[in-house]
Amino acid sequence: MQRYSGFGLAKHALSHNENWQRMWRNPTPKKKYDVIIVGGGGHGLATAYYLAKEHGITNVAVIEKGWLGGGNTARNTTIVRSNYLWDEAAELYEHAMKLWEGLSQDLNYNVMFSQRGVLNLGHTLQDMRDIQRRVNANRLNGIDGEVLDTQQVKEICPVLDCSPNTRYPVLGASWQPRGGVARHDAVAWGFARGADALGVDLIQQTEVIGMRIEDGQILGVETTRGFIAAETVGCVAAGNSGVLARMAGIKLPLESHPLQALVSEPIKPVLDTVVMSNHVHGYCSQSDKGDLVIGAGIDGYNGYGQRGSYPTIEHTLQAIVEMFPTFSRVRMNRQWGGIVDTCPDACPILSATPVKGLFFNCGWGTGGFKATPGSGNVFAWTLAKGYAHPIAAPFSIDRFVSGKLIDEHGAAGVAH
């Protein structure tokens, strides 16, 4: 693998950038792999990377029906935080956070992970109770965070309207300094390049159209380019997980919904942290390019159309103008939608299935991007060993039968 560095940039500039190598190969699929990962988004690529890097399993294919990182990885609002309420979720996201903190160096690819801090605002007394509960839990779990009062919020984020005269005044916030944003595309590309360098085959424009299962054991997948064998298959396909599950005769507790986001036109730096409000229903950060990156809520209906309804965008911008009145004259440039696969308890599924060798990593809802390295890391472990990584274990599908849900709704709300 060609190492990247500032020195390298200068060297390549002298040769007119003509000698840069491909970031990944475009291989012809082999007949058989040790492990097939279905889905070449951030989570799938991270899984492949860690399988190769930490478990020495390099005879791996990632099968992607479109282009790498083209699903939710390309469509999210890039927020990274680990201040989840329940121990199980907090452990998973904090595992991811620790990997984020060294990811650029590990991958030799600058994913532009910017730890500029995340504010979760409270606007009602119950919001503040929930914030205190969550921050206390975070602290005792070893996750950074503090509860701020209105004045402290104002100091961290002067552009936010903290006056008492708004419809829902800011009463305080939780503050996770280690939270922030990352460059979403770079995450997929960095993992792809890393995985490829370790021997993983990244197979794009190839769709899985069936699963071959005999005697309850997965034998491989049927694809638009023929059958590819593997006795371990991990499905990491976000919104399309349900479609894959059906191929294996499995039903999942998932619903795929449109989740919309939008960006403003680029403006000069004005917002230096990530601000999220469940109550007013808006969240916002500013990208390095200057765009205000704004997330909307989930549309309530099922949808695979990568678009949602206009009122959702309207409500979101009403919330943003309410929170940041000086953004009123800034223009919205573009909106888009992703397909989020949501679980009833707003937590993911990282699980074996009744089919031996077939595993699913899905149901991330709005929380997928921030978990990318952690999800890939524990899922790779799970695929390598054939049973759940301790951090992944609570996220088994069985929880929906036993009732042991990890209900992040109360604390997560719109949860991005």
Binding site: G242, L254, E255, N302, Y304, G305, R307
Partner: protein, 102 residues
């Protein structure tokens, strides 16, 4: 933004008058006390989530307050029919595959 025909009001109304209420035709087990945990979980949590034709329930929340069913394509978002609670869809994945009603 969807434009939804309320079968009770007999008119198309804006989506903002409605609330989506999830998959239609979910049956509560007849004898809950004697069904397995799996059957109960299936009823509570497990959904079809199809990519394509879907039967879902909507509430005309700021209109007549009636629940009704919608057959909608989850990719194109086209609504193929709406029908009252208690009725069965005329258009299904099977009928569509069989080249029946479009």
């Amino acid at each position: 933004m969807l434009h939804i025909y309320c079968p009770y009001c007999g008119e198309h109304r804006e989506e903002s008058e409605f609330r989506p209420k999830g998959q239609a035709h979910i049956l509560r087990p007849k004898d809950p006390d004697n069904c397995s945990d799996e059957v109960w979980a299936d009823y509570l949590f497990f959904r079809d989530n199809p990519r394509g034709l879907h039967h879902e329930m909507w509430l005309h929340a700021t209109g007549c307050r009636k629940y009704f069913n919608v057959t909608r394509d989850t990719v194109s978002y086209e609504i193929l029919e709406t029908y009252k609670m208690g009725e069965q869809p005329k258009i299904t994945a099977q009928s569509r595959a069989a080249g029946g009603e479009k």
